[in-house]
């Protein structure tokens, strides 16, 4: 990735369409999660239970991967290993050749986003179709996903309709229902023609060699059941020990990601079609990719590997809510992306991401596996400073805030950004010692309409009071 974070942020903040989409989307996401977690037996106890399940899996990672491998083979499947993204793409290309594959449908897979598999396949004359509705629209637009659960969160329904109209001749409509039905028709043919289906993996259950995927649309079920070759692709950290672990994790994932009790289709794949089964893929491969993850295990960042990619921390994050996913520059946006991206790509490739946070703690509070995201962001900042990073972090933080302050979408952002800025300022030293120039300018303009939010004024007064007391 290129480090053009600052530029991307300015573009994002000035993009009215993006701001509208983010506002509508993240608000629903946060509300859905809060309601769904509140309806459980004991949300905090369950999060802790889920956390322990992930910790145990990471503590025994090499053993569990080997157990998984043995059981996949016992089920009649094959297991292949990839050190990095290039090896992963080569493995899949080789499989395409071996099985004479012309057309591929893909269920959602973040790992193949890491490796940019679609480009590799297309460069070799293989047609790839993303089958998740959001991923498909993103692919059609020639874009990349902006959220790990809602890939087209950056797009409004109006823009989606225009795209489907322009590219596929869909009659114009403003109803998501009509757009969805239209895409269903297009995709149906793709599934039936595909030679290979590729999917990501949400959990790999070691004790039976079962691949679990989680989805709502049915595209993943179709991609993993209809084509004659099925390839599942996972990062090494996706393995879990037991079915009891699966039961808690899969339920917290659904509740945290979308507010559902369970996602519509929880697909559990154990090898290829058995001789006596009437349908399903003839061949099954599991590809296990490292791509930098083994470097993280055993370090103080190991808990980032516990992530189950629910996206709750993205929705909850005041920075993500304002800049969206693309500004983060790589596959994993939001708070967890700000940790995982520098860890996987190397700190110098994304030096600004650890600062793209107000350390407000909303991410950690939302996380179903209790990942201490703010702590890790601070450690990453420390690492950057120790490595002689030329840009002091607080400057980027201030810049982020000041930029947002000046942007034309100020009206709607006001409350959120202000809260973020005060937390950022207070977060550095515990107190605000002096108010920096843009802030100071605002305090003079008392009648500035965007910040009429009284809670902000109260907070500001409180902060200033604290300052005088000190």
């Amino acid at each position: 990735m290129k480090d053009n974070f600052s530029r991307s942020v300015i573009i994002a903040l000035n993009d009215i369409q993006l701001q509208t989409a983010l506002d509508r989307g993240t608000t629903r996401g946060v509300n859905n999660r809060i309601v769904a977690m509140g309806e459980t037996t004991d949300a905090n106890a369950l999060r802790h239970q889920a956390r322990l399940a992930r910790e145990r899996a990471l503590n025994h990672l090499p053993d569990l991967l080997q157990q998984l491998e043995r059981n996949v083979i016992a089920n009649g499947g094959h297991v292949l290993w990839a050190r990095d993204a290039a090896e992963l793409n080569q493995i899949i290309l080789d499989l395409c050749r071996k099985h004479d594959v012309r057309r591929v449908t893909k269920g959602k897979s973040m790992v193949t986003e890491e490796s940019e598999l679609n480009h590799a396949l297309e460069a070799n004359g293989i047609e790839v179709t993303e089958s998740d509705l959001g991923e498909y629209i993103v692919q059609l637009a020639g874009e990349t996903p902006s959220h790990i659960v809602f890939p087209m969160l950056h797009k409004t329904k109006e823009a989606t309709a225009q795209l489907l109209h322009d590219k596929l001749g869909m009659p114009m409509t403003d109803k998501p229902e009509d757009m969805t039905r239209f895409v269903r028709g297009v995709m149906r043919r793709k599934y039936l023609e595909a030679d290979m289906g590729i999917s990501g993996v949400n959990f790999a259950i070691a004790e039976t060699g079962t691949i679990a995927t989680v989805e709502n649309e049915g595209n993943n079920r179709l991609s993993t059941s209809t084509p004659r070759v099925y390839v599942a692709v996972m990062g090494i950290e996706k393995v879990i020990a037991t079915w009891e672990d699966y039961a808690v994790l899969v339920q917290l994932l659904a509740r945290s990601a979308t507010g559902q009790r369970l996602s519509v289709y929880n697909n559990l794949m154990s090898g290829p079609r058995r001789a006596d089964e009437p349908d399903g893929p003839d061949v099954f491969y599991l590809v296990i990719m490292d791509n930098g993850r083994s470097r993280i295990l055993g370090t103080e960042y190991a808990e980032s590997l516990a992530c189950i990619r629910c996206g709750a921390c993205l929705n909850a994050c005041p920075v993500y809510q304002n800049i969206g996913g693309h500004a983060y520059g790589w596959v994993y946006p939001g708070p967890i992306g700000s940790i995982v991206t520098p860890l996987l790509l190397g700190p110098t490739r994304a030096p600004k991401l650890p600062y793209a946070s107000s350390l407000c703690g909303a991410c950690q509070a939302a996380c179903p596996v209790e990942i201490a995201i703010p702590d890790m962001l601070l450690r990453l900042r420390r690492d950057l400073v120790q490595a002689g990073d030329p840009t002091p972090g607080w400057r980027i933080g201030m810049w982020l805030w000041a930029t947002a302050f000046k942007s034309p979408v100020l009206y709607r952002l006001g409350g959120k950004m202000a809260g973020m800025a005060t937390r950022l300022l207070a977060g550095r030293s515990g107190k605000i010692k002096s108010l920096p120039p843009p802030f100071d300018a605002w305090t003079k303009q008392r009648d500035f309409p965007a910040f009429a939010e009284s809670s902000f004024r109260e907070r500001l007064k409180r902060r200033r009071g604290k300052q005088t007391d000190a």
Binding site: L52, E55, N59, G134, Q251, R261, N266
Partner: protein, 225 residues
Amino acid sequence: MPSAREDILSRLRRAVAQQPTFPNRPQAPYLPVTRLAPDEDLKARFIAEVERVKGTVHVAPDDAAARRTLRELLAGRNAQRVTMWDEAHIPLPGVTALLQELGIERIQGSNAEVATADAGITGADWAIATTGTLVLSSGPGKPRMASLLPPVHIAVLTEDRIVPRLEDYIAAQRAQRLGVFRRSSNVTLITGSSRTSDIEMHPVFGVHGPLELHVILIENLSEMG
């Protein structure tokens, strides 16, 4: 040169060798996720949960009523072609005869053919009350496509197959040494109708999976004495 597999595994072994990455913390017995009243009526809860996720449950007091419901569902959709599990795996006798009587053709064979069916009829291994979930495993006479390709999925279920929670389903499989997850290439937990929230997180039902989900729930005979 070591293989990628050896490389990755040895790196991981080195990482976990010195000390475990996380302290080994004792694990208390698992707390189940969903709430359940001590006197919960599982049938009522299951029906309520399925309807929340845009499925329809048709309660049938006996087989004859279940067949009447099935007939209405098929006739109401003007179904000409139906794909289904073998009758042995559907807990309702007389489905084949009913299709013949209605002049409905039974489709089997390639995915492309099955995709032309107007409805798919299946049984279900289990149902989960607190989440409104159906559990379907693949196996001889139990094609995956019957619950996947047709626009309408009709699952026939007897009340005694309802367990309270996902955790209870897993415990039951544990008691059977997890055999189903080794035997069946596919087990699917179906919770409601195919849906998406991709467009502005606005829920839309009927995406790539079936547009309609119907459960014909046959009540227990024992209840009627």
